[in-house]
């Protein structure tokens, strides 16, 4: 198989080993593989040429398949992949927007982050049809984005989501001023996931080995982040169906988790914890014991509230069969992470691309019977909270074995030359993918980021079809996708 270079998560490869095919060969190769895209992006290749890189995920074997194609300066189009594999739709839109190479016959070739004034909304005609426009500024304290509902009375035929308001030019900034703090601020609700992905990329490029202790602290923090956000979102879902009790209780329970993060790192969201070379803060034995005590209370309170809430018939009538995305649809459009799991597709890069700890600590993927509605997404959160808290307990007790290891090893600025590295971290929403490339001088020349929301926004659009407009906030909250992670 010469069409692909096979690599692993966090493993550096030589740029010159990546096959460079013609676009037609690459297209054929992608179609014959039938695997999930996790990256599809361009890079200036000198003299007006563009090189397109594709990374596919082999979730069964834990492999990453990398290949590329070069477009010369006068090649400005190719036959799109989306018609064959729909999950490429958003990747091809992004590639077109960034490099002007048109995927021909793309069914939905609209702006992704810029040129919002040129966005053409899908238009429906008829006496009964009307549009509802929402945003960019929303009613709550949330990030900006524009939603356009095509409705018949109260029923949504279709929702179009126009984003890009959060665009801060992150990929460009990552080349100019890369730092842990910038990585943390790409998507401020997934601080640990983003900073870990960035740090792993840098450690890979700089050949830095971090201590076992640091790896475990990062892992524990990642699960704390997951638990905190999922509890908060359970509260937000409760709030959106006017179940005030749930909103209040989950809200205060989340506070316990993030205040523990504050004790670990000085920030409620774990900012300043992860660093290239390890972590900045050790967790003392006292802190471990205190954390374990707090987590017991958290687990108990979440359990209690969830059981009370789900016994309530008015709660269930709002959650069940609202905003359904079927397994087939989820798979076809390439949903990842939580949204995929809730629809019955168990994608989880923690288990699909495992590090050594997953085996050593006996962490196993547990099945979840999701049918893709709000209820499934709520129950999945409950399941993940319980699992994450159990994982943190195990990780912290393992941590005691590495008491004398350093948390941070020395870093330096020498990066490997002509290197290419992919780092995948399973944030609470799903896979956070960071990819970096260096040139012959060891300078960063491309930094690519893919947030799980990038795949999943279209899933939200499908979820609200044939639902009432008034159920949109509930559907939206049940996905809780990132605007800033998508817009970069």
């Amino acid at each position: 198989m010469t069409n692909w270079l096979i690599t692993k998560n966090n493993k550096k490869v030589n740029l010159t080993d990546i096959p460079a095919l013609s676009i037609n060969e690459l297209r054929e190769a992608v179609i014959s593989e039938q695997k999930r895209p996790i990256a599809f992006f361009g890079k200036d290749w000198g003299n007006g040429a563009t090189r397109l890189f594709v990374v596919l995920a082999d979730d069964i074997n834990g492999d990453l398949l990398v290949s590329s194609a070069i477009f010369s300066a006068n090649e400005k189009s190719y036959e799109c992949l989306t018609q064959e594999i729909p999950s490429f739709h958003i990747f091809e839109r992004e590639f077109y927007e960034q490099f002007g190479i048109e995927p021909l016959n793309h069914p939905w070739l609209k702006p992704v982050r810029i040129n919002q004034d040129k966005y053409e909304f899908f238009n429906m005609e008829g006496d009964e049809v009307h549009q509802v426009a929402v945003g960019p500024i929303h009613a709550g304290v949330i990030e900006p984005g524009h939603f356009r509902f095509m409705c018949n009375g109260e029923t949504v035929y279709h929702l179009e989501i126009m984003l890009g308001y959060q665009h801060r030019g992150i990929e460009e900034l990552m080349l100019k001023t890369p730092s842990n703090q910038l990585a943390e601020s790409i998507c401020g609700d997934s601080v640990i996931a983003y900073n870990t992905a960035y740090s792993q990329v840098m450690e890979g490029l700089k050949d830095i080995q971090i201590s076992n202790k640091a790896q475990l602290i990062r892992k524990a923090a990642l699960e704390m982040e997951r638990a905190a956000i999922q509890i908060g979102d359970m509260g937000a879902i409760a709030g959106d169906i006017a179940y005030a009790m749930g909103a209040a209780v989950f809200g205060v329970t989340r506070t316990l988790v993030i205040n523990t993060m504050l004790e670990w790192s000085g920030s409620r969201f774990g900012r300043g914890l992860v660093n290239v070379g390890g972590v900045n803060f050790d967790i003392s034995e006292d802190e471990i014991n205190l954390t374990l005590k707090t987590l017991d209370k958290v687990a108990k309170d979440v359990d209690r509230m969830t059981k009370t809430m789900l016994k309530n018939s008015t709660v269930m009538s709002r959650l069940e069969k609202t905003g359904t995305v079927s397994y087939e649809k989820a798979k076809e459009i390439g949903l990842v992470g939580m949204a995929a799991k809730a629809s019955g597709n168990p994608l989880d890069s923690r288990f699909d691309f495992p590090d050594k700890w997953m085996k050593e600590l006996n962490f196993e993927k547990k099945p979840f019977n999701g049918v893709g509605d709000v209820n499934s997404r709520f129950k999945l959160r409950y399941k993940e909270v319980k699992e994450s808290l159990a994982m943190v307990r195990k990780i912290l007790s393992k941590l005691k074995e590495y008491k004398n290891e350093p948390v941070l090893v020395d870093s330096h600025n020498d990066m490997s030359k002509d290197a290419f590295i992919v780092s995948i971290v399973e944030g609470w929403r799903g896979e956070v993918v960071h990819i970096a490339m260096t040139d012959g001088n060891g300078t960063l020349t491309r930094y690519k980021i893919k947030d799980p929301s990038f795949n999943n926004w279209y899933g939200l659009a499908l979820a609200v079809r044939n639902n009432g407009v008034s159920d949109f906030p509930l559907c939206n909250k049940s996905f809780n996708l990132s605007y800033s992670g998508n817009d970069l």
């Binding site: 959060q166 001023t177 842990n180 601020s185 790192s265 300043g272 016994k311």
Partner: protein, 251 residues
């Protein structure tokens, strides 16, 4: 229903009773404490600061830029830089956010927020705010949401976030203000009836923070309109925010 009642009783009262004097965990990085005499001028801190908040000769930290990451403290071998857990960081004057040697929390608290009679008389009983996230990363947004949860319960002071600028007395801006959000922010500002206030929340809003070198920002809004209150943080802690507003309207 009995389960719900039982849950209610089990949870008890969880709100923080005394917001202005609420204790803060010692690990929190708040007001910097600097010692010029110890500074060896090695400049290592300047290299690790992601936002250029530090200056030497004399040593100073601009809280309007600072992300409170603690990298400068960690690298400083002569222990000239420290962060206290003092969380009342807001000021009505941009220049007061620049902390130099000898600034104590008592002095900062006394001088940072200037109380104006017209503000107190109009807003002290009720202040409704419209929040605009202008490319905020969701860090400050989550913390502002937390201000209204059962722990912090900002609503008890008559301070709330409202859904429409028409109902608001002012706007709270988070994020570095992207080009794509500039017009919406300005529209929102004009939709708020007079008299109105503008609050900048977080390092990004105040100075661009880690995004200050981005070519995709448009921060003209800040030059055109007066800013009433600067609230530092990355993200802003709920106690920092609530106390900032309380001291500004002199509740």
């Amino acid at each position: 229903m009995f389960d719900t009642l039982k849950s209610r009783i089990y949870q008890g009262q969880q709100f923080i009773k005394d917001i202005p004097n609420a204790p803060m965990r010692e690990q929190f990085r708040g007001l910097p404490s600097l010692c010029n005499g110890k500074c060896s001028n090695c400049g290592k801190c300047l290299n690790v600061c992601p936002t250029g908040a530090l200056k030497l000769n004399p040593l100073s930290i601009d809280m309007g830029k600072c992300t409170f990451c603690g990298a400068c403290k960690n690298i400083c071998e002569s222990h000239a830089i420290d962060f206290t857990n003092f969380y009342k960081l807001a000021s009505t004057d941009r220049n007061k956010l620049i902390i130099t040697e000898g600034m104590t929390k008592e002095e900062y608290e006394k001088t940072a927020v200037e109380v104006r009679k017209e503000i107190t008389s109009v807003f002290s009983r009720s202040l409704k705010l419209r929040q605009v996230s202008a490319a905020g990363c969701n860090g400050c947004e989550m913390e502002l949401n937390a201000c209204s949860n059962a722990n912090f319960d900002m609503g008890r002071f008559g301070i709330d976030f409202v859904a429409s600028p028409r109902h608001a007395d002012g706007i709270v801006i988070t994020g570095p203000i992207s080009e794509n959000m500039a017009y919406a922010l300005e529209n929102c500002y004009h939709a708020v009836p007079n008299p109105k206030i503008v609050i900048l929340c977080g390092a990004c809003a105040i100075s661009g923070g880690v995004f200050q070198n981005s070519s995709k920002l448009n921060r003209e809004f800040l030059e055109k309109y007066p800013i009433d209150l600067y609230i530092p943080g990355c993200p802003v802690h709920p106690l920092t925010f609530i106390n900032a507003v309380l001291s500004y309207i002199k509740k």
